[in-house]
Protein backbone atom coordinates (compact mmCIF):
# COMPACT_ATOMS: atom_id res chain seq x y z
CA UNK A 1 0.00 0.00 0.00
CA UNK A 2 1.33 3.39 -0.90
CA UNK A 3 -0.65 6.41 0.23
CA UNK A 4 -0.97 9.63 -1.64
CA UNK A 5 -2.62 12.10 0.64
CA UNK A 6 -4.62 14.70 -1.20
CA UNK A 7 -2.64 17.92 -1.01
CA UNK A 8 -4.45 20.42 1.16
CA UNK A 9 -2.35 23.48 0.52
CA UNK A 10 0.26 24.91 -1.77
CA UNK A 11 3.49 23.66 -0.26
CA UNK A 12 5.98 26.48 -0.56
CA UNK A 13 8.10 26.17 2.59
CA UNK A 14 7.51 22.46 3.15
CA UNK A 15 10.16 21.06 5.39
CA UNK A 16 10.74 17.32 5.11
CA UNK A 17 11.14 16.16 8.68
CA UNK A 18 8.65 16.81 11.43
CA UNK A 19 11.43 18.33 13.56
CA UNK A 20 11.78 21.13 11.03
CA UNK A 21 8.08 21.85 10.83
CA UNK A 22 6.48 24.73 12.66
CA UNK A 23 4.25 23.87 15.57
CA UNK A 24 1.35 25.59 17.28
CA UNK A 25 1.31 25.82 21.07
CA UNK A 26 -1.14 22.91 21.12
CA UNK A 27 1.17 20.52 19.25
CA UNK A 28 2.03 18.36 22.28
CA UNK A 29 -1.64 18.20 23.24
CA UNK A 30 -2.67 17.04 19.75
CA UNK A 31 -0.08 14.28 19.93
CA UNK A 32 -1.28 13.29 23.38
CA UNK A 33 -4.80 12.99 21.95
CA UNK A 34 -3.41 10.58 19.36
CA UNK A 35 -3.95 12.89 16.39
CA UNK A 36 -2.59 11.82 13.03
CA UNK A 37 -0.28 14.68 12.11
CA UNK A 38 0.55 15.99 8.62
CA UNK A 39 2.74 18.62 7.07
CA UNK A 40 0.36 21.39 6.09
CA UNK A 41 2.22 24.18 4.32
CA UNK A 42 5.23 23.73 6.59
CA UNK A 43 3.18 23.22 9.76
CA UNK A 44 2.90 20.03 11.79
CA UNK A 45 -0.90 19.90 12.15
CA UNK A 46 -3.54 17.34 13.16
CA UNK A 47 -5.41 15.93 10.15
CA UNK A 48 -7.76 13.86 12.29
CA UNK A 49 -8.11 12.35 15.76
CA UNK A 50 -8.68 8.60 15.22
CA UNK A 51 -9.04 7.93 18.96
CA UNK A 52 -12.19 10.06 19.15
CA UNK A 53 -13.80 8.89 15.93
CA UNK A 54 -11.76 10.26 13.04
CA UNK A 55 -12.54 12.52 10.10
CA UNK A 56 -16.14 11.55 9.28
CA UNK A 57 -17.23 11.65 12.93
CA UNK A 58 -15.56 15.07 13.27
CA UNK A 59 -17.30 16.35 10.17
CA UNK A 60 -20.67 15.16 11.45
CA UNK A 61 -20.05 16.58 14.92
CA UNK A 62 -19.67 20.04 13.38
CA UNK A 63 -22.76 19.67 11.18
CA UNK A 64 -24.94 18.26 13.97
CA UNK A 65 -23.51 19.58 17.23
CA UNK A 66 -20.06 21.10 17.77
CA UNK A 67 -16.36 20.63 17.07
CA UNK A 68 -13.20 22.54 17.94
CA UNK A 69 -10.23 23.19 15.65
CA UNK A 70 -6.77 24.53 16.46
CA UNK A 71 -6.26 27.13 13.74
CA UNK A 72 -3.33 28.90 15.36
CA UNK A 73 -1.29 28.38 12.20
CA UNK A 74 -3.35 31.13 10.55
CA UNK A 75 -1.54 34.46 10.41
CA UNK A 76 -2.66 37.82 11.75
CA UNK A 77 -1.68 41.27 10.53
CA UNK A 78 -2.78 44.43 12.31
CA UNK A 79 -2.86 47.69 10.40
CA UNK A 80 -3.26 50.82 12.52
CA UNK A 81 -3.11 54.44 11.62
CA UNK A 82 0.03 56.51 12.15
CA UNK A 83 -0.57 60.23 12.66
CA UNK A 84 -3.06 60.94 9.89
CA UNK A 85 -6.66 60.02 10.60
CA UNK A 86 -7.83 57.61 7.91
CA UNK A 87 -4.32 56.38 7.14
CA UNK A 88 -5.04 52.74 7.97
CA UNK A 89 -8.40 52.70 6.20
CA UNK A 90 -6.80 54.15 3.06
CA UNK A 91 -4.10 51.44 3.19
CA UNK A 92 -6.65 48.64 3.69
CA UNK A 93 -8.78 49.97 0.82
CA UNK A 94 -5.72 49.99 -1.45
CA UNK A 95 -4.65 46.48 -0.40
CA UNK A 96 -7.92 44.56 -0.44
CA UNK A 97 -10.73 44.04 -2.94
CA UNK A 98 -13.75 44.34 -0.64
CA UNK A 99 -14.90 47.74 0.70
CA UNK A 100 -13.61 48.11 4.26
CA UNK A 101 -15.20 51.56 4.58
CA UNK A 102 -18.55 49.79 4.79
CA UNK A 103 -17.48 47.94 7.92
CA UNK A 104 -18.69 49.15 11.29
CA UNK A 105 -16.28 48.85 14.20
CA UNK A 106 -16.89 45.28 15.38
CA UNK A 107 -17.66 43.94 11.92
CA UNK A 108 -15.61 41.67 9.64
CA UNK A 109 -15.68 40.85 5.93
CA UNK A 110 -14.32 38.27 3.53
CA UNK A 111 -11.85 39.89 1.15
CA UNK A 112 -8.64 39.21 -0.75
CA UNK A 113 -5.23 40.68 -1.45
CA UNK A 114 -4.70 40.80 -5.22
CA UNK A 115 -1.75 41.06 -7.55
CA UNK A 116 -1.92 43.82 -10.17
CA UNK A 117 -3.15 41.11 -12.59
CA UNK A 118 -6.32 40.66 -10.51
CA UNK A 119 -5.17 37.24 -9.29
CA UNK A 120 -4.79 36.18 -5.67
CA UNK A 121 -2.01 36.87 -3.19
CA UNK A 122 -4.32 35.37 -0.56
CA UNK A 123 -7.87 35.54 0.72
CA UNK A 124 -8.32 37.25 4.10
CA UNK A 125 -10.88 38.12 6.74
CA UNK A 126 -10.70 41.84 7.48
CA UNK A 127 -11.83 42.82 11.00
CA UNK A 128 -12.43 46.48 11.83
CA UNK A 129 -11.12 46.75 15.40
CA UNK A 130 -11.46 50.53 15.55
CA UNK A 131 -12.15 53.50 13.28
CA UNK A 132 -8.59 53.26 11.98
CA UNK A 133 -7.50 49.87 13.22
CA UNK A 134 -7.83 46.62 11.21
CA UNK A 135 -6.91 42.97 11.69
CA UNK A 136 -6.31 40.71 8.68
CA UNK A 137 -6.51 36.98 9.30
CA UNK A 138 -4.49 35.24 6.60
CA UNK A 139 -3.56 31.70 5.53
CA UNK A 140 -0.74 29.75 7.17
CA UNK A 141 1.05 28.71 3.99
CA UNK A 142 1.16 32.28 2.69
CA UNK A 143 2.08 34.09 5.92
CA UNK A 144 5.52 35.39 4.95
CA UNK A 145 4.44 36.29 1.43
CA UNK A 146 1.38 38.16 2.71
CA UNK A 147 3.26 40.09 5.35
CA UNK A 148 5.93 41.30 2.96
CA UNK A 149 3.20 42.09 0.40
CA UNK A 150 1.33 44.19 2.96
CA UNK A 151 4.49 45.97 4.15
CA UNK A 152 5.62 46.66 0.59
CA UNK A 153 2.28 48.01 -0.58
CA UNK A 154 1.52 50.21 2.43
CA UNK A 155 4.76 52.20 2.19
CA UNK A 156 3.00 55.26 0.80
CA UNK A 157 0.38 55.24 3.57
CA UNK A 158 0.53 56.62 7.08
CA UNK A 159 -0.05 53.36 8.92
CA UNK A 160 1.66 50.86 11.18
CA UNK A 161 1.83 47.22 10.08
CA UNK A 162 2.30 44.64 12.80
CA UNK A 163 2.73 40.88 12.35
CA UNK A 164 0.78 39.35 15.27
CA UNK A 165 0.77 35.82 13.85
CA UNK A 166 2.64 34.29 16.76
CA UNK A 167 0.71 36.24 19.40
CA UNK A 168 -2.48 34.18 19.24
CA UNK A 169 -3.68 30.69 19.80
CA UNK A 170 -6.75 30.72 17.57
CA UNK A 171 -9.51 28.19 18.22
CA UNK A 172 -12.49 27.71 15.93
CA UNK A 173 -15.54 26.40 17.80
CA UNK A 174 -17.97 25.40 15.07
CA UNK A 175 -21.41 23.87 14.79
CA UNK A 176 -25.00 24.57 15.85
CA UNK A 177 -24.10 24.08 19.53
CA UNK A 178 -20.93 26.22 19.39
CA UNK A 179 -22.84 29.10 20.93
CA UNK A 180 -23.92 26.90 23.85
CA UNK A 181 -20.35 25.80 24.51
CA UNK A 182 -18.86 29.27 24.36
CA UNK A 183 -21.65 30.76 26.47
CA UNK A 184 -20.38 28.71 29.41
CA UNK A 185 -16.91 30.24 29.08
CA UNK A 186 -17.52 33.93 28.51
CA UNK A 187 -19.32 36.96 29.91
CA UNK A 188 -19.84 38.38 26.42
CA UNK A 189 -23.39 38.47 25.10
CA UNK A 190 -22.99 36.05 22.21
CA UNK A 191 -26.54 36.45 20.96
CA UNK A 192 -25.71 40.06 20.12
CA UNK A 193 -22.89 38.99 17.78
CA UNK A 194 -24.22 38.53 14.27
CA UNK A 195 -22.54 36.39 11.63
CA UNK A 196 -19.26 38.07 10.61
CA UNK A 197 -19.29 40.42 13.59
CA UNK A 198 -17.07 40.25 16.67
CA UNK A 199 -16.69 41.58 20.17
CA UNK A 200 -14.18 41.58 23.00
CA UNK A 201 -14.90 39.84 26.27
CA UNK A 202 -13.57 37.64 29.02
CA UNK A 203 -13.06 34.06 27.82
CA UNK A 204 -11.89 31.33 30.19
CA UNK A 205 -11.09 34.04 32.74
CA UNK A 206 -8.88 35.96 30.33
CA UNK A 207 -10.06 39.54 29.76
CA UNK A 208 -10.42 41.43 26.47
CA UNK A 209 -10.29 38.45 24.11
CA UNK A 210 -11.41 38.79 20.50
CA UNK A 211 -14.52 36.66 19.90
CA UNK A 212 -15.63 36.56 16.25
CA UNK A 213 -18.67 34.83 14.77
CA UNK A 214 -16.66 33.52 11.83
CA UNK A 215 -15.46 30.16 10.56
CA UNK A 216 -14.61 27.97 7.62
CA UNK A 217 -17.19 25.22 7.90
CA UNK A 218 -20.47 26.60 6.52
CA UNK A 219 -21.89 26.23 10.02
CA UNK A 220 -22.58 28.73 12.79
CA UNK A 221 -19.58 29.15 15.06
CA UNK A 222 -16.95 31.31 16.68
CA UNK A 223 -13.26 31.92 16.47
CA UNK A 224 -11.51 33.02 19.65
CA UNK A 225 -8.06 34.57 19.86
CA UNK A 226 -6.19 33.63 23.03
CA UNK A 227 -2.64 34.28 24.28
CA UNK A 228 -0.30 31.83 22.57
CA UNK A 229 1.78 30.49 25.47
CA UNK A 230 1.52 26.72 25.89
CA UNK A 231 0.09 26.76 29.41
CA UNK A 232 -2.74 29.15 28.54
CA UNK A 233 -3.41 27.48 25.18
CA UNK A 234 -3.77 24.01 26.72
CA UNK A 235 -5.89 25.36 29.55
CA UNK A 236 -8.28 27.06 27.12
CA UNK A 237 -8.49 23.98 24.88
CA UNK A 238 -9.30 21.77 27.88
CA UNK A 239 -11.93 24.21 29.18
CA UNK A 240 -13.59 24.25 25.76
CA UNK A 241 -13.56 20.44 25.65
CA UNK A 242 -15.05 20.25 29.16
CA UNK A 243 -17.73 22.82 28.34
CA UNK A 244 -18.57 20.88 25.19
CA UNK A 245 -18.75 17.46 26.82
CA UNK A 246 -22.55 17.56 27.19
CA UNK A 247 -22.79 18.25 23.43
CA UNK A 248 -20.29 15.50 22.51
CA UNK A 249 -17.79 18.08 21.27
CA UNK A 250 -15.18 16.57 18.93
CA UNK A 251 -11.60 17.74 18.48
CA UNK A 252 -11.39 18.29 14.71
CA UNK A 253 -8.46 18.21 12.33
CA UNK A 254 -7.65 19.66 8.94
CA UNK A 255 -9.32 16.71 7.21
CA UNK A 256 -12.78 17.64 8.45
CA UNK A 257 -11.99 21.33 7.98
CA UNK A 258 -11.41 20.58 4.30
CA UNK A 259 -14.55 18.50 3.73
CA UNK A 260 -16.68 21.03 5.64
CA UNK A 261 -15.41 24.01 3.68
CA UNK A 262 -15.70 22.12 0.39
CA UNK A 263 -19.38 21.32 1.01
CA UNK A 264 -19.91 25.01 1.75
CA UNK A 265 -17.91 25.95 -1.40
CA UNK A 266 -15.44 28.08 0.49
CA UNK A 267 -12.23 28.70 -1.46
CA UNK A 268 -8.89 27.23 -0.40
CA UNK A 269 -5.73 29.06 -1.42
CA UNK A 270 -3.65 27.02 -3.86
CA UNK A 271 -6.80 25.26 -5.08
CA UNK A 272 -9.78 27.43 -6.07
CA UNK A 273 -7.75 30.62 -5.83
CA UNK A 274 -4.08 31.28 -6.61
CA UNK A 275 -1.70 33.66 -8.32
CA UNK A 276 -2.97 32.24 -11.65
CA UNK A 277 -6.72 32.64 -11.10
CA UNK A 278 -8.56 35.95 -11.14
CA UNK A 279 -11.55 37.10 -9.12
CA UNK A 280 -14.10 36.63 -11.94
CA UNK A 281 -12.97 33.09 -12.67
CA UNK A 282 -13.20 32.19 -9.00
CA UNK A 283 -16.74 33.56 -8.83
CA UNK A 284 -15.91 35.87 -5.93
CA UNK A 285 -17.28 39.06 -7.50
CA UNK A 286 -19.63 39.49 -4.53
CA UNK A 287 -16.62 40.39 -2.41
CA UNK A 288 -14.90 42.59 -5.01
CA UNK A 289 -16.08 46.19 -5.02
CA UNK A 290 -15.20 47.73 -8.39
CA UNK A 291 -16.97 50.93 -7.33
CA UNK A 292 -14.01 51.61 -5.05
CA UNK A 293 -11.86 54.04 -6.99
CA UNK A 294 -8.63 52.18 -6.57
CA UNK A 295 -7.22 48.94 -5.24
CA UNK A 296 -4.43 46.68 -6.42
CA UNK A 297 -5.73 44.51 -9.25
CA UNK A 298 -8.68 46.75 -10.14
CA UNK A 299 -7.43 47.89 -13.55
CA UNK A 300 -6.72 44.35 -14.74
CA UNK A 301 -10.10 43.16 -13.44
CA UNK A 302 -11.88 45.96 -15.30
CA UNK A 303 -10.17 44.82 -18.48
CA UNK A 304 -10.88 41.13 -17.78
CA UNK A 305 -14.57 41.89 -17.18
CA UNK A 306 -14.84 43.23 -20.72
CA UNK A 307 -13.07 40.22 -22.23
CA UNK A 308 -14.44 36.69 -22.41
CA UNK A 309 -13.81 34.51 -19.35
CA UNK A 310 -12.06 31.31 -20.33
CA UNK A 311 -12.91 29.26 -17.29
CA UNK A 312 -15.26 29.34 -14.40
CA UNK A 313 -15.57 27.42 -11.14
CA UNK A 314 -18.36 24.82 -11.04
CA UNK A 315 -19.58 22.20 -8.61
CA UNK A 316 -19.55 18.57 -9.76
CA UNK A 317 -21.26 15.51 -8.42
CA UNK A 318 -19.99 12.12 -9.50
CA UNK A 319 -22.71 10.04 -11.16
CA UNK A 320 -20.65 6.86 -11.39
CA UNK A 321 -18.37 5.07 -8.95
CA UNK A 322 -15.19 7.04 -8.41
CA UNK A 323 -13.84 9.89 -6.32
CA UNK A 324 -12.60 13.04 -8.04
CA UNK A 325 -9.44 14.35 -6.42
CA UNK A 326 -7.48 17.57 -6.61
CA UNK A 327 -5.79 18.05 -10.00
CA UNK A 328 -7.66 15.28 -11.81
CA UNK A 329 -8.47 16.21 -15.41
CA UNK A 330 -11.97 16.99 -16.64
CA UNK A 331 -13.25 15.97 -20.10
CA UNK A 332 -16.38 16.83 -22.05
CA UNK A 333 -18.74 14.29 -23.58
CA UNK A 334 -16.75 14.39 -26.84
CA UNK A 335 -13.57 13.35 -25.01
CA UNK A 336 -11.84 16.75 -25.15
CA UNK A 337 -9.86 17.77 -22.08
CA UNK A 338 -11.70 20.86 -20.83
CA UNK A 339 -10.65 21.53 -17.27
CA UNK A 340 -9.28 20.46 -13.93
CA UNK A 341 -10.54 19.58 -10.46
CA UNK A 342 -9.37 22.02 -7.75
CA UNK A 343 -10.81 20.14 -4.77
CA UNK A 344 -12.53 16.76 -4.74
CA UNK A 345 -13.66 14.49 -1.95
CA UNK A 346 -16.42 12.30 -0.64
CA UNK A 347 -19.00 14.52 1.07
CA UNK A 348 -19.79 13.08 4.50
CA UNK A 349 -22.98 15.15 4.77
CA UNK A 350 -24.40 14.27 1.36
CA UNK A 351 -23.00 10.76 1.03
CA UNK A 352 -21.89 11.62 -2.50
CA UNK A 353 -18.58 12.30 -4.18
CA UNK A 354 -18.26 16.00 -4.97
CA UNK A 355 -15.71 18.32 -6.53
CA UNK A 356 -15.01 21.87 -7.58
CA UNK A 357 -13.49 22.28 -11.03
CA UNK A 358 -12.57 24.95 -13.55
CA UNK A 359 -14.28 24.47 -16.92
CA UNK A 360 -15.16 26.74 -19.86
CA UNK A 361 -18.33 28.81 -19.23
CA UNK A 362 -20.07 26.96 -22.07
CA UNK A 363 -19.91 23.79 -19.96
CA UNK A 364 -20.93 25.40 -16.68
CA UNK A 365 -24.71 25.07 -17.01
CA UNK A 366 -26.45 22.95 -14.39
CA UNK A 367 -26.79 19.26 -15.30
CA UNK A 368 -24.04 19.44 -17.95
CA UNK A 369 -22.47 15.99 -18.13
CA UNK A 370 -18.68 15.93 -17.78
CA UNK A 371 -16.12 13.21 -17.14
CA UNK A 372 -13.38 13.16 -14.52
CA UNK A 373 -10.31 11.07 -15.22
CA UNK A 374 -9.85 8.83 -12.19
CA UNK A 375 -6.61 6.92 -12.80
CA UNK A 376 -7.32 5.02 -16.05
CA UNK A 377 -11.07 5.59 -16.25
CA UNK A 378 -13.23 8.54 -17.18
CA UNK A 379 -15.98 8.70 -14.62
CA UNK A 380 -19.26 10.43 -15.36
CA UNK A 381 -20.15 13.55 -13.38
CA UNK A 382 -22.57 16.42 -13.72
CA UNK A 383 -22.57 20.11 -12.92
CA UNK A 384 -24.66 20.80 -9.82
CA UNK A 385 -25.73 23.88 -7.89
CA UNK A 386 -23.37 25.18 -5.21
CA UNK A 387 -22.83 25.42 -2.34
CA UNK A 388 -23.26 21.67 -2.04
CA UNK A 389 -24.45 22.22 1.52
CA UNK A 390 -26.19 25.22 3.04
CA UNK A 391 -27.23 25.30 6.66
CA UNK A 392 -30.89 25.86 7.42
CA UNK A 393 -31.68 29.41 8.46
CA UNK A 394 -32.77 29.39 12.05
CA UNK A 395 -33.27 31.93 14.81
CA UNK A 396 -29.48 32.31 14.90
CA UNK A 397 -28.54 35.79 13.72
CA UNK A 398 -27.47 35.87 10.09
CA UNK A 399 -25.27 38.27 8.20
CA UNK A 400 -26.94 41.55 7.49
CA UNK A 401 -25.83 42.66 4.06
CA UNK A 402 -22.38 41.84 2.72
CA UNK A 403 -19.77 39.78 4.45
Amino acid sequence: MESVTTPTTNSDATAERSSELRKTSLNALHRKLGARMVNFGGWDMPVEYPATGGLIAEHKAVRNSVGVFDVSHMGDIRIRTGKTPGGALAAVQHLSMNDASKLAVGQAQYSALLYPAGTFVDDVIVHRLGEDDFLFVINAGTREKDISWVRENTKGFDCLVEDLSDAYTQLAIQGPRAVDVLRKLTDANLDAIKNYWFTHGTVCGLPERLIARTGYTGEDGFEIYMPSDVVTSEKVWNLVMDAGKEFQIAPCGLGARNTLRLEAKMALYGHEISEKINVWEAGLERYCKMEKRDFIGRAALAKAAAARTERTLVGLEMLERGIARDEYKVFDAAGEEVGVVTSGSPSPTLGKNIALAYVPPALAALNTVLFVEVRTQRVKAQVVATPFYKRAKKSAPQAAGSN
Binding site: M1, S19, I56, I323, S345, P346
Partner: protein, 133 residues
Protein backbone atom coordinates in the same frame (compact mmCIF):
# COMPACT_ATOMS: atom_id res chain seq x y z
CA UNK B 1 -4.72 -5.39 16.83
CA UNK B 2 -2.74 -8.63 16.65
CA UNK B 3 -0.93 -9.56 13.45
CA UNK B 4 -1.74 -13.22 12.65
CA UNK B 5 1.38 -15.33 12.92
CA UNK B 6 0.46 -17.52 9.94
CA UNK B 7 0.29 -14.50 7.56
CA UNK B 8 3.15 -12.99 5.58
CA UNK B 9 3.58 -9.21 5.21
CA UNK B 10 5.02 -6.70 2.75
CA UNK B 11 6.79 -3.40 3.34
CA UNK B 12 3.85 -1.75 1.57
CA UNK B 13 1.55 -3.09 4.33
CA UNK B 14 -0.29 -5.88 2.53
CA UNK B 15 -0.80 -9.25 4.17
CA UNK B 16 -1.01 -12.70 2.55
CA UNK B 17 -2.74 -15.73 4.00
CA UNK B 18 -1.61 -18.67 1.89
CA UNK B 19 -2.72 -22.27 1.96
CA UNK B 20 -2.52 -25.07 -0.64
CA UNK B 21 -1.37 -22.78 -3.44
CA UNK B 22 -4.20 -20.28 -2.84
CA UNK B 23 -3.89 -16.98 -1.01
CA UNK B 24 -6.05 -14.24 0.40
CA UNK B 25 -4.61 -10.74 0.24
CA UNK B 26 -5.53 -7.73 2.36
CA UNK B 27 -4.09 -4.59 3.91
CA UNK B 28 -2.80 -4.50 7.47
CA UNK B 29 -4.23 -2.86 10.55
CA UNK B 30 -1.34 -0.38 10.38
CA UNK B 31 -2.30 0.49 6.79
CA UNK B 32 -5.96 1.08 7.62
CA UNK B 33 -5.08 3.22 10.63
CA UNK B 34 -2.80 5.37 8.48
CA UNK B 35 -5.57 5.78 5.88
CA UNK B 36 -8.45 6.61 8.18
CA UNK B 37 -12.11 5.96 7.32
CA UNK B 38 -12.13 3.87 4.12
CA UNK B 39 -14.90 4.95 1.74
CA UNK B 40 -14.03 3.35 -1.59
CA UNK B 41 -12.43 0.17 -2.89
CA UNK B 42 -11.55 -0.74 -6.46
CA UNK B 43 -10.60 -4.37 -7.10
CA UNK B 44 -9.79 -6.48 -10.17
CA UNK B 45 -12.25 -8.96 -11.64
CA UNK B 46 -11.77 -12.70 -11.45
CA UNK B 47 -9.31 -13.92 -14.06
CA UNK B 48 -7.02 -10.89 -13.80
CA UNK B 49 -3.33 -11.83 -13.58
CA UNK B 50 -1.42 -10.14 -10.75
CA UNK B 51 2.29 -9.52 -10.96
CA UNK B 52 4.46 -9.22 -7.86
CA UNK B 53 5.01 -5.60 -6.86
CA UNK B 54 2.52 -4.21 -9.37
CA UNK B 55 -0.55 -2.26 -8.36
CA UNK B 56 -3.79 -4.22 -8.68
CA UNK B 57 -6.33 -2.00 -6.97
CA UNK B 58 -6.97 1.03 -4.82
CA UNK B 59 -8.37 1.74 -1.41
CA UNK B 60 -9.50 5.29 -0.68
CA UNK B 61 -10.27 7.12 2.52
CA UNK B 62 -11.88 10.54 2.63
CA UNK B 63 -8.47 12.15 2.34
CA UNK B 64 -6.17 9.66 0.66
CA UNK B 65 -5.83 7.31 -2.31
CA UNK B 66 -3.76 4.17 -1.77
CA UNK B 67 -2.54 1.78 -4.39
CA UNK B 68 -2.50 -1.87 -3.43
CA UNK B 69 0.49 -3.86 -4.66
CA UNK B 70 0.49 -7.56 -5.33
CA UNK B 71 2.61 -9.36 -2.73
CA UNK B 72 2.87 -12.34 -5.10
CA UNK B 73 2.02 -13.24 -8.67
CA UNK B 74 -1.10 -15.18 -9.50
CA UNK B 75 -4.55 -15.19 -10.96
CA UNK B 76 -7.54 -13.60 -9.22
CA UNK B 77 -10.14 -16.21 -8.30
CA UNK B 78 -12.46 -13.85 -6.51
CA UNK B 79 -12.63 -10.23 -5.36
CA UNK B 80 -14.39 -9.41 -2.12
CA UNK B 81 -17.65 -7.93 -3.43
CA UNK B 82 -18.89 -7.13 0.09
CA UNK B 83 -16.36 -4.32 0.31
CA UNK B 84 -18.03 -2.28 -2.41
CA UNK B 85 -21.03 -1.68 -0.15
CA UNK B 86 -19.16 -1.87 3.14
CA UNK B 87 -15.69 -0.44 2.59
CA UNK B 88 -15.53 0.45 6.30
CA UNK B 89 -14.99 -3.27 7.00
CA UNK B 90 -11.37 -2.53 6.10
CA UNK B 91 -11.18 -0.36 9.22
CA UNK B 92 -13.03 -2.73 11.52
CA UNK B 93 -11.65 -6.13 10.46
CA UNK B 94 -8.63 -5.60 8.21
CA UNK B 95 -7.08 -9.03 8.81
CA UNK B 96 -10.31 -11.01 8.48
CA UNK B 97 -13.58 -10.11 6.75
CA UNK B 98 -11.88 -7.35 4.75
CA UNK B 99 -9.72 -9.59 2.57
CA UNK B 100 -9.48 -7.93 -0.88
CA UNK B 101 -8.86 -10.78 -3.31
CA UNK B 102 -8.30 -14.53 -3.39
CA UNK B 103 -5.67 -15.63 -5.86
CA UNK B 104 -4.14 -18.81 -7.18
CA UNK B 105 -0.42 -18.39 -6.52
CA UNK B 106 1.83 -18.69 -9.57
CA UNK B 107 4.82 -19.52 -7.39
CA UNK B 108 4.17 -20.13 -3.67
CA UNK B 109 7.92 -19.96 -2.93
CA UNK B 110 7.75 -16.21 -3.60
CA UNK B 111 6.16 -15.79 -0.19
CA UNK B 112 9.37 -16.83 1.56
CA UNK B 113 10.79 -13.40 0.78
CA UNK B 114 8.06 -11.64 2.76
CA UNK B 115 8.14 -10.75 6.47
CA UNK B 116 6.61 -12.89 9.16
CA UNK B 117 4.46 -11.21 11.81
CA UNK B 118 7.35 -10.59 14.23
CA UNK B 119 9.46 -8.97 11.52
CA UNK B 120 6.50 -6.87 10.34
CA UNK B 121 5.70 -5.67 13.85
CA UNK B 122 9.33 -4.64 14.32
CA UNK B 123 9.17 -2.89 10.94
CA UNK B 124 6.11 -0.77 11.81
CA UNK B 125 7.45 -0.05 15.31
CA UNK B 126 10.58 1.42 13.69
CA UNK B 127 8.40 3.48 11.35
CA UNK B 128 6.48 4.88 14.31
CA UNK B 129 9.75 5.99 15.93
CA UNK B 130 10.90 7.63 12.74
CA UNK B 131 7.67 9.61 12.48
CA UNK B 132 7.79 10.97 16.01
CA UNK B 133 11.54 11.76 15.90
Amino acid sequence: MAYPTNYRYTKEHEWVDAKDGMAKIGITDYAQSELGDVVFVELPAAGKKLETGKSFGTVESVKAVSEIYAPASGEVLEANGELQNKPETINSDPHGAAWLVKIKLANPAELDKLMDSAAYEAYIAAKGKEASA
